[in-house]
Symmetry: C2
Subunit: 200 residues, 2 copies
């Protein structure tokens, strides 16, 4: 299973954003919605081998994490509005219990931030965890585990200090994607393509 | 200058789609809007060396082409709604004259389809024209002109027969992007990264 963890420094953990203006009312949750599409969807299909975590660190309900599991989710559409509806419903649902609580098949929410994600990763994932970072060694030349990789991705603001410290403590390997600094969703697209090529 | 030509088989050439539901009311113009972002925007910046043509073959006002010139456009935001507003304004503006008529700096509209694009390309572009096609030789191994390349991209429906014939007559070179068929916007992201690496 491939895993992508996208950290939204100001992305709202509450469901009260406006679908007509997600970018302007959600702490730029739109960036994370586009990451969902890039990680999960291919031409006329869904990547069943992929799980995406959206770490929402913004607003009064933060921190919370939305988890979308490609092996179980259904009816994922690529446009930002549809993805916004899906995440909004997840955030508005009442939560009970600890850890990830499933809202519907393949869609779950947890209280907590990056710590909740790290607790949810399979044992041994430390050895196969990567962080996408400008100026790091090129992914094309890097040894990447294609079976159980976990990629940590910053949003348009990069990584906050606390997340950086947690990732360093987790023991991630830094990888880069080329000479130009790209959007988070493009970074995910480039990683998926590299994994596709190695797995083919 | 890099050029991307995205062909929307059913994407509306009229501006009467709903911003609250672009995907459901525009013949999937949302696909082309995401292509705009992928081609033009990088982290905290705009690719000044890139021109994007959206070929709109759907609806009663078709065919028309929207051209966005990265060297002159301003205030491009990455979210689908903002991009939808920009394209809607272009399509609603009255047109006079032939060829591309500028609506505002960097944003122009022309009557016509792929023919209008081909007429707008610089002389000699035949030698540097590529079409992204599944199963074609891998772009990583292909000889690509990095100074003046033109990439033709199909939407979620691929290419219509007439476009295929016109591209074949134009003399394009087929290139592929790996073993998995990806969305049009992801294809553009992958091409941009390859060009960035070669130009670095």
């Amino acid at each position: 299973m491939r895993r992508f963890v996208v950290i939204g420094q100001q992305a709202t953990a509450a469901g009260d954003f406006l679908l007509i203006d997600v970018a302007g009312t959600s702490g730029r949750l739109d960036v994370l919605l586009r990451c969902l599409r890039a990680a999960l969807l291919v031409s006329h299909g869904l990547r069943r081998d992929t799980v995406v975590y959206l770490v929402l660190l913004g607003g009064p309900r933060a921190p919370r994490v939305v988890r979308v599991d490609g092996s179980a989710i259904r009816f994922v559409r690529p446009d930002e509005r549809s993805l916004g509806v899906m995440v909004q419903k997840a955030l508005e649902a009442g939560l009970e219990g600890c850890g990830f609580v499933e809202i519907r098949s393949g869609l779950a929410v947890a209280e907590g931030g990056l710590d909740a994600v790290l607790a949810d990763l399979p044992a041994g994932s430390v050895a196969t965890s990567y962080v996408l970072d400008e100026g790091a060694p090129d992914i094309r030349d890097a040894a990447i585990d294609v079976r159980e990789p976990v990629f940590f991705v910053g949003d348009h603001l990069g990584f906050d200090d606390e997340s950086r410290l947690m990732l360093a403590a987790h023991g991630v390997t830094r990888v880069g994607l080329g000479p130009v600094s790209v959007h988070a969703e493009d970074a995910i697209t480039l990683v998926c393509n590299e994994l596709d090529r190695r797995g083919a």
